[in-house]
Amino acid sequence: MTALLDRTPLGVMVRIARIDWTAMSDDEGRRLREFGLMEGCEVTPLHRGSIFSRDPLALTVGRMKVIIRARQAAAIEVEPA
């Protein structure tokens, strides 16, 4: 039972099942990994967008809080943690 990170409910911890690295540039993929976002790690989406748009997405990974765009989140498949 997987879902895409750009659609998962806020405040609920999920585990990253798969990342479609082809959906983003090499630089973006590397930055995601540098943030610690990779298969098997647990993240909690916390805040999504503003009145202007559904973008961006803020999530915690480990003790860090990072911001990514919905386009990248849509390439991340997650499962319940």
């Binding site: 911001i67 765009r69 990248q72």
Partner: protein, 619 residues
């Protein structure tokens, strides 16, 4: 060891507290902020070991790995690998780790350790880790990594002596050997980092984090935006309300000095130069120091507290619609203070077209140099009263409107540029959100002092020089009796020529006269008018006592005043901005493009404002 001074580089992830540590070690005068990407320039300083031997320190831009994603990150890699032109390879590295974010920051540390350069780890911000319920074993970490690990709290100067002693030891005992071949694989690196971090954590008490509750409000889709708008609104109201008493005092001081000189020194060329040129011109600009400091106070506080990255988060949705990213918000907000550091801060934007667009619209953010112009005209022409019985002042509201006009103009221009000259794929936005921190009084005070100094130095050099040149051009040739000196002078004649071009948009002789010297810097427009008016007033004490604003009130229509404000929302009148754009875009193409489009916009905006105002009977 050679006799040469060892050079040591500070390196680490963004938000690890490198800049604070650098400041604590060197005492260097430098800005500390809380968002990734603040350290874009090379920053070097000196310190000494306990026995007095000197060492030189370089503060490198924060990055996540040796594979750069932006210009400033490339600098870090090149310096560390000894590839940066004009920069010797550092003799040792101080790798700065955020104690509370160990597993992530250790990845980069492991990559750096593989280079086999003398290295010491600074386990920084251990106090904040403790706040978050984390206890770490530095010795265990040191054993696992094979290098010294020193716990530090940069802002409280804790662990600094130990850190330098460890660096000294690392350089002395270093055994050269080949660096580990090839870059490490991402996921194995992460696994190792996580294992080492886990081993170093003695205890981890879950602390109910108040910061998350704050973020739930501050980053709320609707309330967060309202808070951001409210903060900016308060900031611009404060610029008016708080600055009035000190500004009045400064103005009084300049007037007293002029009157004293006029009373005590017989009239001669030099006295007129000082009273009408220097004091009138420079004085008219210096009175805006309080307002500029208040604006910077807010910006520094927002940066230091960690709020700025939140603002970037909130703004990203809007900026994404015009092809920019929230990354651009930080350079653009800095541009409210001055476009020059703003344009330099765009180096942290990874996407090239995104960066170019941000550079080109940065001058549309209302910089502090425009404040003197706006403040003068608003004080003279907009009544000082509340709006509809609320506590909101009309003057502050107009100022707020001018800032908004610049922002809306910038968004429209960005939208157009991203579909024409700066076409490209959608820019990304990936950024770390720093933890909230209490701004340190000392850092804020230092930042404000630097701003005040830069502003006063400008007033003392560029502005003083242009005012003196202008005064000379206004004073000669001497007008025959019965004719206006200002009209008759060289400057007056040049202005009369320019007036033909700007008369259709409602600009008068005063403005035409001010526009040319204002090319040097926008605020010179104010000193130019002040100098011209001082010459007009001559020795007439009553006329001299009248403020510049009062004198303009009598001479300009409201439509002209409004058109003048509209002009300055867009006009690219700042040589420094043009020069920095040339440097940052490597050529004349983009600065010329920028100047061209901004002048065209300024002319049209002033024209539309003037014609509309006249149509409403304000001419």
């Amino acid at each position: 060891m050679t006799a040469a001074i060892p050079s040591i580089a500070l390196v680490g992830n963004p938000n690890a507290g490198k800049s604070s540590l650098f400041n604590a070690l060197t005492g260097a005068r430098q800005k500390i902020a809380n968002y990734p990407g603040v350290t874009v320039e090379r920053k070097a300083g000196h310190a000494s070991f306990a026995d007095g031997r000197p060492l030189s320190l370089i503060d490198l831009p924060g990055t996540y790995s040796l594979t750069p994603a932006s210009l400033d990150e490339a600098v870090t890699r090149d310096v560390i690998l000894g590839r940066q032109a004009g920069e010797a390879r550092p003799d040792a590295l101080i790798v700065v780790l955020d104690a509370a974010n160990l597993d992530n920051h250790l990845c980069f540390a492991l990559e750096l350790l593989a280079l086999n350069v003398p290295t010491v780890i600074a386990l920084n911000m251990v106090d904040l880790a403790t706040r978050d319920g984390l206890t770490l074993d530095a010795e265990r970490l040191s054993r696992d990594l094979g290098v010294p690990v020193v716990p530090t709290v940069a802002v409280r100067r804790r662990g600094l002596a130990e850190l330098l002693a460890a660096v000294d030891g690392a350089i002395r005992t270093h055994q050269p050997r080949d660096a580990v071949a090839g870059p490490l694989n991402d996921s194995s690196l992460h696994q190792r980092a996580r294992a080492i971090a886990r081993a170093a954590i003695v205890s981890e008490t879950p602390v109910r984090r108040w910061t998350q509750r704050v973020d739930n409000v501050v980053l709320h889709p609707l309330f967060g935006m309202i808070i951001l708008l409210a903060l900016m609104f308060v900031m611009f109201q404060a610029v008016y309300a708080w600055a009035a008493p000190p500004a009045d005092a400064l103005e009084g001081l300049v007037g007293t000095m002029q009157a004293w000189i006029v009373d005590h020194i017989p009239q001669n060329f030099l006295r007129d130069l000082v009273v009408e040129g220097l004091l009138a011109g420079v004085g008219a600009v210096v009175v805006f120091l309080p307002q500029i400091l208040i604006l910077f106070l807010f910006i520094l506080l927002l940066e230091a507290s960690g709020y700025m990255a939140r603002a970037a988060f909130l703004m990203d949705g809007l900026m994404g619609k015009v092809g920019l990213s929230g990354r651009g918000f930080i350079p653009l907000l800095s541009s409210f203070a001055c476009a020059v550091p703003g344009i330099m801060a765009t180096r942290a934007i990874p996407d090239e077209k995104d960066r170019l667009t941000t550079i080109l619209i940065a001058p549309l953010m209302t910089c502090s140099a425009r404040l003197p112009v706006y403040a003068l005209i608003i004080a003279a022409f907009i009544p000082n009263r509340g709006v509809g019985g609320t506590g909101i002042g009309l003057q502050g509201l107009v100022l707020f409107g001018l800032y908004i006009a610049g922002i809306v103009g910038a968004l429209i221009v960005a939208f157009a540029l991203r579909r024409t000259v700066a076409k490209g794929t959608g820019a990304g936005f990936m950024m770390e959100m720093p933890r909230y921190q209490m701004p340190r009084l000392r850092d804020i005070a230092l930042g404000l002092w630097q701003r005040a100094w830069i502003f006063l130095r400008r007033a003392g050099t560029i502005i003083a020089l242009t005012t003196i040149v202008l005064w000379l051009l206004l004073t000669f040739p001497k007008a025959p009796d019965g004719q206006s000196q200002v009209e008759y002078s060289v400057a007056g004649r040049i202005a009369s020529g320019l007036e033909v071009a700007v008369a259709p948009i409602g600009f008068n002789h005063d403005i035409a006269l001010a526009l040319i010297p204002a090319m040097a810097a926008r605020e010179v427009a104010v000193s130019a008018m002040a100098t011209a008016n001082a010459i007009d007033a001559g020795d007439d004490e009553e006329a001299m006592a009248a403020t510049l604003g009062e004198r303009l009130q009598g001479k300009w229509s409201l439509a002209t005043a409004l058109a003048f404000l509209a002009w300055f929302v867009f006009a690219p009148q700042c040589i420094s901005t043009i020069a920095i754009t040339r440097r940052e875009t490597n050529g004349w193409k983009w600065p010329l493009f920028m100047v061209g489009y901004l002048f065209a916009l300024a002319y049209v905006a002033a024209g539309i404002t003037y014609w509309t105002a006249v149509a409403f009977g304000l001419g």
